[in-house]
Symmetry: C4
């Protein structure tokens, strides 16, 4: 039996409130198609949409390779316009279908849907604006729509429930680690100083995070014997510290596991 | 008692279906020798084969060292032909012994067995083809035959069962991490850009994987303050994220553990 | 039910012993304001203090950026004096309020509170002393006062209890890892030597810690084949070793977890 | 109750077999002093010995720093001879005290005790032999004598028992990881080749270990897009793989934990 902190997967099956759904007619069918995945058409629409999003993300990725952009620039531009028109249409239809337009436009997916098409249209107005062109890459955020699929996975439900149950403990842990990082980063700035690459405390904090999480790029590394000694202590601390979130999540997953062989009560 | 998702180790003891085994005579004995490990001769054959494979892999490794190749080139060539002839003979005998030739030739080990000898023979036809010579290294894939030994280890059975039981949760987890990597990689490409080593989104994705898994080569590292800040957040997320697969596998191993001191039922 | 090693969160609610609290009058109220968080005023004071400390730390961080210091030097100096005066006043009032002055002055927070203001005052006496100016950064240690907030978090109590219960095992583990690091570091110094960056055994120990904790800066890395082989063994050992503290902490967290669904005893 | 694989801490309290102990007289008392820690004198002797070993290791470390060796060379040489004479005397007395001389001389600590003094004596015979002088560093292996102290720690007993119980599973795991490393290392050698730093398969295997354990020095890193893609897959696999030993050890520690609140049996 899941603990009390656990979330009932059935609860958030319907994202949009009932009053967002038009009561009858074409708009109601459009709403069911675009916003729900209960009807077969709505499900098919979501699958197609996710494929198109994945293709648009792949196009953006391929376009970012200088050699490919040089050779296939025109093809990328055409595809780009194709995706923009499709996504713009989808955005407008969503606005038409829902009863709660402002709520949708202000929601996470509403903002992202707009950001996914705006840069290309703005690029038409202000030709040659390079920074706006790069904003297009924000389209990848639409990939998050994929996460909708999670709702259908029982496994994902358990994982999310375990993560949600771990959240308070993980937050407290991250707060403690944060305090430690601030103190250690400042001490290392004092010890190593700008001449060894620790140019300011922010860089020193970045180094501390890189070290305590055991990433260790090596773009900045301690040069003085004292700095190397303190680093060693930091690393061994990070070693013990990494055990904490793992322990928290393990404990939650073990607790949250549905018991498939319920033990017989004593007669 | 192992959970319902657990796999019975006895089930896959016999890989080849019964109808692959000839019904009598020399071919039946050859089949038992080459394909099964139930008979003493079949077991001895497998042990010898694994030793020969290990030696051939070691030879390939030693040959890859330029200094050794310069000095012992002739010896390596001779050994190479020796292994090729032995493995080719083994492949042909396997084809002769089994009743289901196409099934064997198309199986994982069948393809690898062919790939292990083909490059040397092809190199004879098209002399001086350098790329083919390197294909020979694929012979190391035969090392996977070693994994057959796992079937004899009770410990390995438990580990595999725990991993198999974790697979659905781990897949869902990897899918979530994948989405995160795509979004973070794109954002970092926007923030850092080609001038700081993030030459395109694919390179940026590579950097994100290097960072989130805490490998941290340092061949690419963020240079801008904003990039370093986002990286720090990514690393701390990676820190918490690594806890998830560990928790999943720990939970499965704890569940899958055979209870050696079964508790007495209440009378 | 928490195990016997667990600590009762209620026990350390009152840090200062009763005899440190003046028995009546203004000093008693000052004491309650500064040292306790039981009264509403004392709680508000602590929140304000923590905000001021966070601001002073942020100022020190911003001042460490050379570009900002060049442009806003005068503003930083003024803020610096503001914080110094506030913190000095707070320190003096704390001395006035408590009955056990020496005990406070010698305590962890007493020493840090003094170190947080001393450098600025000393900088006034010995103008241009650069090293003292950097000592100011020690002010970040006051951030630890934030940890006081932990007392109010039930989650933090469980985490701290689990960590405290893991401490003996973690210490033994760190002692074992320490021995291993000394032996491996010395062996690597023998194998690689000063010509490959392992300039002395202390540097070699630093490298071993960097490697066994999987940080891996790459500022020092093995160059000889034997060194690379030993490193590989060290890394795979580190791989298995990191499992130990994680296992310890997981076990403690699972044990320490308050059972929210207590099982009915057999009737 | 610890599982059946668990080891009884009381069993190896007496290392040397009874027949190694002389039956009476001065040699018996010498034996008790040197080999056992049951008598107060034997305990004090071990503590002093460990302090002397720690000092000799520290001296060797300090001597390895070129600047210190240049300035304090004579002091180091004197200390070196002091330690050598003390350790030689101890070794001879041990030989005198035990009844089973050959067994002691061939044991782990017997060999190390000899290796700890031999280089200095040999250096006297063959003056100026530099490699032998470095052998002296092997003295650090005597640090392992510290591990004797573990016998007195209940915590260490549990940890060792958990590690010993995990050993079969960890070995199987390491064997599987080893196979994977050989295959991945060979593939990366094919993909990247000597021109990108993967000079031969051994170097490629070293790179694979560095990557899969998430150490990531960055001395060798993939340069080709395909190599970076395969690396990303390797890293994410390493991510999931690291969960396995952690899960194994966690499960053992949780199982091995002495239950301090034994549950009442059903009445």
């Amino acid at each position: 039996m899941p603990g009390p902190g656990y979330h009932n997967p059935r609860k958030n099956r319907v994202r949009q409130r009932p009053d967002a759904r038009p009561s009858h007619g074409l708009r109601q069918r459009l709403y069911d198609l675009l916003f729900t995945i209960e009807t077969p058409a709505g499900y098919r629409f979501d699958v197609i949409l996710i494929v198109v999003i994945a293709l648009s993300v792949l196009t953006t990725m391929l376009e970012s390779v200088a050699e490919l952009r040089a050779q296939w620039g025109a093809v990328f531009a055409a595809l780009e316009w194709g995706f923009t028109i499709v996504f713009s249409l989808e955005y407008l239809l969503r606005l038409v279908a829902t009863n709660r337009r402002l709520r949708f436009a202000g929601s996470f997916f509403g903002v992202i849907d707009l950001l996914a098409v705006l840069p290309t249209w703005l690029g038409l107005l202000f030709a040659g604006l390079p920074s706006l062109i790069f904003l297009r890459t924000l389209r990848v955020l639409r990939v998050f729509r994929l996460l909708k699929l999670w709702k259908y996975s029982r496994e994902a439900q358990y994982l999310l429930a375990a993560l949600r149950a771990s959240l308070p403990k993980i937050s407290v842990f991250l707060f403690g680690v944060g305090t430690l990082i601030v103190v250690l980063g400042s001490v290392m700035y004092l010890v190593e100083g700008p001449e060894n690459g620790f140019t300011n405390i922010f860089v020193s904090l970045y180094w501390t995070v890189v070290t305590i999480t055991t990433v260790g790029y090596g773009d900045i590394s301690p040069q003085t014997p004292l700095g190397q000694f303190i680093s060693s202590v930091v690393m061994i601390m990070g070693y013990a510290i990494i055990a904490v979130p793992t322990g928290i999540v393990s404990a939650e997953i073990i607790r949250g596991e549905p018991d498939e062989t319920p033990e017989e009560p004593c007669p």
